[in-house]
Symmetry: C2
Subunit: 424 residues, 2 copies
Amino acid sequence: MIQANDPKLTSWIEVEKDSDFPIQNIPFGVFKTKDSAPRVGTRIGNKVIDLNALFVLGYFKNLPFEGSDFNTSSLNNIMKKGKEGTRELRNRISKLFTSDFPDLKNNEQHVAQVLIDIDEVEMLMPVEIRDYTDFYSSEQHAYNVGCLFRDPNNALLPNWKHIPVGYHGRASSIIPSGQAIHRPKGQKKPPTEEVPVFGQSNLMDFELEMAFFTYEGKPLGDHITTAEADDYIFGMALFNDWSARDIQGWEYVPLGPFLGKNFASSISCWIVTLDALEPFRVAGPDQSNPKILPYLEYAGNKHIDINLDVFIQPEGGEENCVCNSNYRHMYWNMNQQLAHHTVNGCNINNGDCYASGTISGPNEGEYGSMLEISWKGTKPFKMNDGTERKFINDNDTVIMRGYSEKDGVRIGFGEVSAKLLPAK
Amino acid sequence: MIQANDPKLTSWIEVEKDSDFPIQNIPFGVFKTKDSAPRVGTRIGNKVIDLNALFVLGYFKNLPFEGSDFNTSSLNNIMKKGKEGTRELRNRISKLFTSDFPDLKNNEQHVAQVLIDIDEVEMLMPVEIRDYTDFYSSEQHAYNVGCLFRDPNNALLPNWKHIPVGYHGRASSIIPSGQAIHRPKGQKKPPTEEVPVFGQSNLMDFELEMAFFTYEGKPLGDHITTAEADDYIFGMALFNDWSARDIQGWEYVPLGPFLGKNFASSISCWIVTLDALEPFRVAGPDQSNPKILPYLEYAGNKHIDINLDVFIQPEGGEENCVCNSNYRHMYWNMNQQLAHHTVNGCNINNGDCYASGTISGPNEGEYGSMLEISWKGTKPFKMNDGTERKFINDNDTVIMRGYSEKDGVRIGFGEVSAKLLPAK
């Protein structure tokens, strides 16, 4: 077992019941305060831990890190140290903050330099993302979309159960939780029109996804197998793949989604390491009918049980839960996605982002987009305030939260939240 | 007129007739020698000019550059100075090497530090590419593909003449001219098989494209108009969008090309500035039927006349010209592509790469891919050595060359060349 995951550990930092951030989590993020430049941190309970301060104070002695790894505006430098490096770092942080290890706790001056209240920090974009790929790996989502746009008897396309279908997305417009977006404008062709028109998207949607971030991969031309994939995955975040359905519908044949997606994607700011999620591994679905090709086979449990909820909050109103899903509902897991992505020799880089595709569970109430929830606008969602939603309204905030829980330990992601402002 | 473009200029460096690199070109690239680390250079005739050496010797006084802009392994730093900065730099270089300005010429010691024979340098990847987008903007290519896979009477999809269709591609696997690639492996479903199989691609193709590289854009949410687009474009290169047709055919519905493309794309190493190409502007096609939307309209000549040739060279054999095309055959120009890409608020970054899509001319002999040249394998191309090509064979080298010519001035790109090695 990875030392920092021990469910018996407790911290001398107070952690509220149901916190996403017990000492078993130790996620990584980038923050600033009103007085400081961006730097790398972690979090226990409601305290942000300044890793640059810990480094300067000598608490990372004998670890393979230098000051510029923490006194910087992205996690890319610590990710360059690979799985072993970041694991050692997480284990060291765990040790410094466990109840049994009072050295730091008892040094008030050091504690004052290292701990910051969560309310006093602004969380920033955690990773400088290189390439970004979006998969399409939830069977229920692919089935629902197939039913809505094609035929329930033939909902999955012929390749879907053979290939973890994916496409390249736009890295430049991935933004951190909290940053508002504007309703995009673009070209669309409403069914009532003879020719396309230009205007704001009227069918704004979220997509509930999880993203993972990679370490440096192998050289161009080499392949990462399903068995090797874990070693190339640093950690995960919540991911809202904002989608303008009317723009997407007109543009996407034959080369896939483009302006219907690339105006913004929002991610949660704490990257939870794959190490921290190991205790929550679960089995995936049967993949014998049709039988998958050998390069996609894998050993052991490679899916992860992560509860996922989506909320819509109108301006000044309360949160409405519109979806309870779970990351275990994926047909294709991350190992299969990476093995597929690299089987042709495509190289991956430190800081790449790979999103899951919309994660829909098998039942109503578990669908991960308004397209599915409102069944293409035919079943509006009834909000607590009496209004209805087919898609997202101006000034609505969309919030996604997620956590794993087992043996009394809850490892969470916090949230990804973004307000949809009116079109400019 | 931009000073460095003056057709009357001559250089004190010898320039052979039909050289791609007269003093009116002044492209930018990154090179190393056996004794030196990567640095930024330009080229006149067969001499590479070490811009770091020029900077150190004080020849860039009063320009907005510093040493780290040249003593580095990519053009991204000089591109950060924007259009004005790189234009001033090009004008200064032009002045230093014109016949009328003997200061540098007469300083033998300086000349020895600054000029290097082209044979003594290795050209490297010129730009650290952020996001990469591939368009699909040649009408003849889209028509040919439509004929081959759908119906000649209905070859263009309904959106094609309304939208500069594009999709996001993989930046990590864009490689410089000269770097060989391996035939990729992947999943495909031959028409003779009931289920997909895994194996090497048997339908390896090139796509003749041009790419442009951008300066830093506007913030997320803002739009770059067709009138503004020129100010955001640094320069251009030749681009071979390698394609594995069998992998692509099975995977691409519904989200577009992925592993059929992302194993490699090759670019030429000298980035020719948009400034240097200004004299070769030409009018584009009529876009009144159907009429394009106002945000895609543009003023003036925004297409560019660039002769483009493709050659296949078998191992130990001679070059066979398989295509003569021209960049003027584009339906959508770069200004329209950038205006479309950002109309939804998508942000662009310094170092982004945007490729044109396959550039096919209206006649046989002008098609920019083997798919079209061999008409899906039904019309094999006859090589000089008596062999035939439907697609690219192992150990074939694919070479693309391009240049503009007018008023006795020829501005060229050199070449992009890559050998296809057998599958690993």
